[in-house]
């Protein structure tokens, strides 16, 4: 009886133990609002979706690139509606509370690049689709995109934190005793994180990181980009990193670092592809959203989808005067400055770039669907592409670099090739004085026309001011756009000061 009793008591206990051990996976419920990263990097499409995620934070923020690179410069002024924070850019009085200075979207992309870089080695070659060679572009794209992000940051803000390793679950850093320490990220305070991994670094370190990344990107972004058994859309040659984009960006970065020989050589790579395009179809890259026209003239840029949330692209909000189309008309072209820039009748770019429509001056690039100002974009058509790197940029960068290294002939040739491709006459050697300064002015003028309102003008001025040592060029050029003499003088004096060339940073405010 005692034995029976003992068994009676123990049986349920044993059953209970078995039960508890057997139900291990009972509690292993996959959260349904996301996917486990452990399940990724097993095939090519998973790898690719992480890659697409790297760019996702950038495309919706192109209006910031416009404010940083165009609104501050000489071609854009206040429209009929005033928004205090946008006016701060237009008037070069950007305050620390200005929400458009939030650089979070670039760091999101950087974090995702770092994540991809750390995890790519998990992807093992697998049959004929995923081979070591095919994997290269995915590495290259990380380096390219990260470099592009830091290129924006260093030129806009100066000294910023430089993150080249992923911070996710844990933060790894070297403590005062020189030991490597790992701490759970979420347990660290902002101050601790700022002290150990988020200290702003000298700009030279950032430039070095950019140069390093781009060297790798050029190496890794081969001609067979993303060839892993996908049907590669034409779009990808624009919206994903590629070899041409890497060379164009490398050339520009080299120029910014005063490496003129290198800039010329890198530009040469793009020039040899002969993709400058022709005058007759140049406008289609703006009047259509056709991928083929876009890649004819550009190597990297963002596209927009209206149906994702049915939100208008903000460039339409900024530039359109038509309220029912969602336009707020916050900015408009400064006609006198623009007219001085676009001063050649045969230039095919003039009509597409800006014009006066219904008594309103408008930046036509983002709202127009033709060259003669008749057809404007409806809200659902507000999907103008945003171009970041153009083939013509590489020609002009090479030209500028050749000019700086004393190869006047080379510079002259680049200038002429671009002129010709945009419908104008080649200069003959007697048309202009072939000195360094004149050529430099003409090359930058050409670049301004090619890239007008595309977030580049300010940086070109900054390049001339800092790298090419044209002292006061920012102040002189930008102050030109103000009609009021007091404002002109005030902005002129302010822009003589180096501090005013960089946007103020207060990241805690943007949280």
């Amino acid at each position: 009886m005692r034995i029976m009793n003992a068994i009676k008591w123990k049986l349920p206990l044993i059953a209970g133990c078995l039960f508890l051990t057997a139900c291990g996976d009972f509690f292993d419920v996959d959260p349904e609002n996301g996917a486990s990263p452990d399940d990724f990097y097993t095939n090519n499409s998973e790898l690719n979706s992480v890659a697409e995620g790297m760019y996702a934070s950038l495309a919706p923020e192109v209006h910031k690139l416009f404010l940083w690179g165009s609104a501050r410069a000489d071609l854009v002024v206040e429209g009929d509606t005033k928004d205090v924070y946008i006016s701060e850019f237009l008037n070069n009085t950007v305050s620390v509370i200005n929400p458009y200075t939030d650089y979070g979207f670039l760091y999101k992309a950087i974090a995702r690049c770092n994540h991809q870089l750390k995890n790519l080695p998990r992807m093992k070659p697998n049959g004929d689709k995923v081979t070591v060679t095919n994997m290269k572009p995915f590495y290259g794209e990380v380096y390219f995109l990260r470099a592009w992000c830091y290129f924006q940051l260093v030129r806009t803000f100066g000294e910023v934190p430089l993150l080249l390793e992923e911070i996710s679950d844990e933060v790894t850093y070297i403590n005062e005793a020189g030991e490597e320490v790992k701490v759970s990220t979420i347990t660290m305070s902002d101050e601790e994180l700022r002290a150990v991994v988020l200290k702003p670094v000298e700009t030279q370190k950032i430039w070095t990181a950019i140069l390093d990344d781009l060297a790798k990107a050029r190496e890794l972004l081969t001609g067979t980009s993303y060839n892993m058994g996908f049907n590669i859309d034409t779009d990808w040659q624009l919206i994903r990193a590629n070899r041409l984009a890497a060379y164009t960006l490398s050339a520009e970065v080299a120029l910014w670092n005063g490496l003129f020989d290198e800039a010329a050589a890198l530009g040469e790579y793009v020039v040899l592809q002969g993709k400058l395009g022709v005058a007759s179809t140049w406008s289609t890259q703006y009047t259509t959203t056709d991928a083929a026209s876009a890649i004819l003239y550009n190597s990297f840029g963002f596209k927009y989808v209206f149906e994702q949330g049915f939100r208008m692209q903000r460039m339409q909000e900024f530039t359109s005067p038509i309220e029912t189309d969602g336009g707020k008309y916050l900015v408009k072209p400064k006609m006198t400055v623009c007219d001085r820039l676009f001063d050649e009748a045969k230039d095919v770019r003039t009509n597409v770039t800006y014009k006066r429509v219904n008594r309103k001056e408008v930046i036509w690039k983002y709202i127009g669907l033709d060259e003669d100002g008749k057809s404007m974009r409806d809200p659902y058509e507000s999907i103008a592409n945003w171009y970041l790197l153009k083939h013509a940029d590489a020609y002009l960068i090479k030209g500028i670099a050749e000019n700086e290294r004393g190869n006047i002939g080379g510079a002259f040739e680049m200038l002429n090739q671009v002129r010709e491709a945009r419908g104008m006459q080649r200069y003959t050697r007697t048309d202009i004085s072939l000195d360094k300064q004149t050529l430099r002015d003409l090359l930058f003028k050409e670049k301004a026309r090619e890239d007008a309102f595309e977030g580049k003008r300010w940086y070109d001025l900054l390049l001339r001011e800092t790298v090419l040592h044209e002292s006061g060029i920012i102040a002189r050029t930008v102050s030109e756009k103000y009609d009021d003499q007091n404002q002109k003088d005030e902005v002129y004096n302010r822009l003589l000061n180096e501090d005013s060339w960089y946007l103020p940073i207060e990241p805690e405010r943007w949280k």
Binding site: K8, P12, A15, G16, F19, C23, D25, F26, F27, V29, D30, E32, N33, G34, A35, S36, P37, D38, F40, S49, V50, A51, E52, G53, M54, Y55, S57, A59, K82, V84, Y85, S95, Y103, Y107, K108, A111, R112, H115, V160, P161, L163, I167, S168, D169, S184, T185, I186, L193, R194, L198, F302, K303, V305, E307, Q308, F310, Y380, P507, W510, K511
Partner: protein, 936 residues
């Protein structure tokens, strides 16, 4: 396969522990009452007889009758039929998690409020529609932490235990209850009439830059125009008498071995807002039988069907019928007039001001819901001996809800790009719950008695939701989802939760005077990672009966218990990729980083009090104090932006709730044919948020903002304090947040930080939806066959944010407005009554941001119910009719309040951060219900 293995485990467990021989019990058992509830520790306070209350006072949904009767229970419902309301038991414990109590119906857990967000704005379909109040046998609100240890991670917001009626021994009885009635309420805002509105519109259009010439040409300002010469009070078109009907049939009976019950009920409730209606059919079947003298099997099965039509009565102003009506130009007509001025038999379309025709909205917009629910339970009870019993049960519930929306284009204003829309949402939840437990009682020596309870339960819960909306179908007739021209949104969510609990509790009683109890509940939940999955909830109590004679008693008690909230639905502990899109391509990014430490929010509950019964049951008093501290609130931490990660969830923050609860009952007359009693309850509540290290949590809904901030009540209203209106430019010494200048006529906002700039840093706490005290009082009188009952409820110290009034005063577009705007600020010479600022299209000075101007005292005293019932004396009991009862019940007959809106009792959402906001939803109506009960 994985699913299958889970079933296997459950089945195995059921078989193993359900077989008597496997259960560890040796001694002689005692027969136990058949209760589906937890082993109930002796509860000295007299339980309310809810089945009598519901029979006397028909309640549309049973949870609507709790406030006033029970201490510690606060509720707020609007007149929205079939909607859940706010039900708060001893305060509010969470910022981001579910804050509604969990209801256990025969052991089956159901959240009082839905788990999903509203399909149409403001619509929270009640989860409790599947219970017909007439099927309730008993109900208990479990508030104290000690008893709630049993419910572990579900108990942070209190528990309501409901036991459904079952068959009983005796001859078969049939009860037929029929009720009919109607409800009505006035919800007519005071609006400008046609002439006043026309003058106002003129100034608004002038403000927009129209010249006098333009305006003179505009037919809107010509009162002879056939289309514009009317005087329409649009909201008047919405009101109707809500009709109520309810038929309920219950049959039950049984012999010594077998008991049965079958009930079927049909309820139809019409809202006082046209077209809105809720219909329900509830069916229940119960069969209990013995398979041996010691083994009893109980079966319960119920099926419920519901369908309803509803309106989004929340902040979707374009489709909120009252708001659309109230803002429509009163000089227009719902009918279409031809250019010649002939009335055409057709509804007018969207007017030249871009406004919907409210009549077209009522006709061309349709929201429908359809629900099906099945519950089943089988329980085996083995009475091992007189002291020990063993039980095992398995229950399954499946609930599905389908909601549909069709919005035609005719007469309804386009919403951005949406001309027409068809939307559909399907939601289903499934729960399988298995439980086994052993109860044992016994004696230790001569003076000590013990009781013990041990058990194990496993829950497997699965919830799915799919939502789709397509827009701009080719025609108004195309009502199905697939007819839309393009997909506007498509959403699919799934949530799975598996949970296990191991219970152990027991008590020692000394001479029926002193009781010591302890309770443990070890819970494992799949909502947390490895370090947070196992959680122990534990509690202890001491009770001392100081004095006891027949009819008199004094008992003191002290309790502690830890409960929790494990309803964390985001996999926040896990490292997760989230979906994103780049151009048309899908991408992913690391959205969640690992947080192994994430745990449920724990609530420590301390209770102490006294229960008294004096003067031979003349006086019954309950007095207690509770202190509840919830720690480890799940809040979001924003990392520095350079880290590039989204905000992450972690346990951080505390909230305390404390209060005193008093209940008093006086029973002055207790004769056989005459009884009379008077009762009153009062509960106080103090709530405070603390230790939020990630900073305050701010939520905004339309023009309403709330905050969870250290030292303040959770969900406090957060906005500006208005100190008047600027008359002249010289008086203005502050600038707007963006640095631009205010103008005369703008509100003078208090500049809290004195930086001469009005921005979010100047927001202050401007009110709180949490009452200081609340409760009810009433009386019950029985004289022969006549019963009379009255119940008053009250709430004091809660604020209401009158968003509807704010919206009706904004003067920022061409909407008709409240009559208040006639006294707005126009100039320094015509400053109006100082209440409203200048009218300005688009509100460029943000005068109508959240502010104290719209906060009102929501205190009220309400005659909730008066009921009279007459039990017709039947001369011969031999006939087949055994009883006839006639009853009348009137609800909400009278309300005393200073609140300016339709009803101070407002329900705006279940989230802790969205309470006490008045959207102008239909108020709780006055209702008159007549009943006839027949027993056979």
């Amino acid at each position: 396969m994985k699913m299958f293995s889970k079933y296997k485990i459950l089945f195995l467990g059921f078989v193993c522990l359900g077989i008597p021989g496997w259960v560890g019990a040796q001694e002689v058992a005692k027969g136990r009452a058949d209760t589906t509830l937890q082993q109930v520790v002796a509860v000295p306070q007299k339980e309310k007889n809810w089945s009598e209350i519901y029979s006397l006072r028909p309640m549309f949904l049973f949870d609507r009758g709790l406030m006033g009767e029970e201490t510690g229970v606060y509720s707020a419902y609007n007149g929205f039929v079939g909607n859940a309301g706010l039900l708060m038991i001893r305060g509010v414990t969470s910022i981001h998690l579910n804050t509604s109590p969990c209801v256990f119906v025969d052991g089956l857990p159901v959240r009082q409020a839905p788990n999903i967000s509203p399909f149409a704005s403001g619509v929270y379909q009640s989860n409790l529609k599947f219970i017909n109040p007439l099927d309730i046998f008993s109900m208990r609100v479990v508030k104290n932490g000690y008893e709630n240890v049993f419910y572990g991670g579900r108990a942070a917001n209190g528990i309501i235990e409901v036991e459904i009626d079952k068959g009983s021994i005796g001859t078969a009885t049939i009860d037929l209850a029929m009720r009919m009635g109607f409800s009505e309420a006035d919800f007519s805002p005071e609006l400008m009439n046609a002439a006043e509105y026309r003058a106002y519109l003129y100034t608004m259009m002038q403000d927009r830059g129209y010249s006098a010439g333009d305006l003179q040409q505009n037919p809107l300002f010509d009162p002879t125009q056939p289309a514009y010469r009317h005087e329409t009070y649009w909201p008047g078109e919405l009101n109707q008498k809500g009709l109520f009907s309810d038929v309920h049939l219950k049959m039950k009976g049984g012999d010594g071995d077998t008991h049965y019950l079958f009930s079927i009920g049909y309820t139809s409730e019409g809202e006082i807002l046209k077209e809105a209606k809720d219909q329900r059919i509830n069916m229940r079947f119960n069969l209990d039988f013995k398979i041996s003298p010691k083994i009893k099997i109980a079966n319960l099965f119920s099926y419920n069907y519901g369908n309803n039509r509803f309106w989004g009565e929340g902040t979707d102003w374009l489709h909120n019928p009252l708001y659309v009506s109230a803002t429509k130009a009163p000089f227009m007509s719902k009918d279409y007039y031809s250019e010649e001025g002939v009335k055409v038999d057709q509804l007018a379309g969207v007017d030249v001001l871009g406004k919907t025709n409210p009549a077209a909205l009522m006709e061309n917009m349709e929201n429908k819901g359809l629900s099906n629910r099945i519950d089943a339970l089988i329980r085996a009870t083995w009475e091992v001996d007189s002291k020990t019993s063993a039980n095992a049960e398995i229950m399954v519930t499946y609930n599905s809800l389908t909601e549909k929306l069709h919005q035609a284009a005719e007469g309804i204003a386009v919403d951005r790009y949406i001309e027409r829309q068809n939307a559909k949402r399907s939601y289903s939840e499934y729960l399988m719950r298995w439980r086994t437990w052993v109860d044992r009682i016994g004696q230790l020596g001569d003076v000590w008695h013990y009781d013990a309870h041990a058990g194990l339960s496993m829950d497997m819960y699965n919830e799915k939701m799919i939502y789709g909306r397509t827009v701009n179908a080719a025609s108004d007739e195309m009502e199905s989802l697939d007819k839309g021209k393009f997909v506007d949104s498509l959403n699919n969510t799934r949530y799975e939760h598996n949970q296990m609990n191991i219970y152990l509790s027991g008590g020692l009683t000394w001479r029926n005077r002193l009781r010591l109890g302890a309770s443990f509940n070890l819970e494992r939940s799949s909502n947390f990672g490895p370090d947070g999955a196992w959680n122990l909830y534990a509690g202890a109590e001491i009770r001392w009966t100081a004095w006891q004679t027949p009819g008199e008693r004094l008992e003191l008690f002290g309790q502690y218990g830890r409960t929790g909230n494990n309803d964390v639905r985001g996999g926040y502990y896990a490292r997760l990729y989230k979906a994103t899109a780049y151009y048309t391509y899908g991408g992913v990014y690391l959205g969640n980083v690992r947080n192994d430490d994430l745990r449920p929010e724990y609530t420590h509950n301390y209770d102490a009090g006294v229960n008294m019964c004096l003067f031979k049951n003349l006086l019954e008093i309950g007095a207690s104090y509770y202190y509840r501290k919830t720690v480890g609130l799940i809040t979001q931490k924003s990392l520095p932006i350079e880290v590039g990660l989204d905000p992450q969830y972690e346990n951080n923050g505390e909230v305390t709730n404390q209060g005193i609860e008093l209940s008093l009952a006086v029973n002055p007359v207790r004769k056989e044919n005459l009884t009379w009693s008077v009762f009153a309850t009062i509960s106080t509540l103090k709530n405070k948020v603390d230790n939020l290290k990630n900073g305050e949590v701010v939520e905004t809904m339309d023009k309403f903002t709330s905050v969870a901030r250290n030292g303040e009540e959770l969900g406090s209203f957060y906005g500006y304090k208005i100190k008047g209106i600027y008359d002249r430019t010289e008086e203005i010494d502050v600038v707007k947040s963006d640095g631009s200048a205010y103008l005369p006529g703008d509100y003078r906002v208090e500049d809290v930080n004195d930086d001469h700039r009005i921005n979010t840093l100047d927001r202050q706490i401007i009110g709180s939806p949490i009452p200081e005290f609340y409760g009810g009082f009433g009386t019950n009188l029985k004289w022969n066959g006549l019963s009379f009952a009255a119940l008053f409820t009250y709430s004091y110290g809660n604020d209401v944010y009158n968003l509807f009034r704010q919206r009706m005063s904004m003067m920022s577009d061409y909407s008709n407005q409240s009559r208040d705007v006639l006294n707005r600020w126009i100039s320094a010479e015509k400053p109006g009554d100082g209440w409203l600022p200048r009218a300005a299209y688009g509100d460029p000075s943000d005068n109508f941001a959240t502010s104290d101007r719209w906060v009102e005292d929501g205190s009220y005293l309400r005659l909730k119910s008066i009921a009279v019932q007459y039990d017709v004396p039947l001369k011969s009991r031999a006939g087949f009719v055994k009883g006839i009862k006639l009853s009348v019940n009137c609800n909400n007959l009278w309300t005393l309040t200073g609140y300016s809106g339709f009803d101070p009792e407002v329900f705006s959402g279940v989230s802790a951060m969205q309470r006490g906001v008045d959207f102008g939803a239909t108020p709780s109506p006055q209702s008159y219900i007549f009943g006839l009960n027949l027993s056979f």
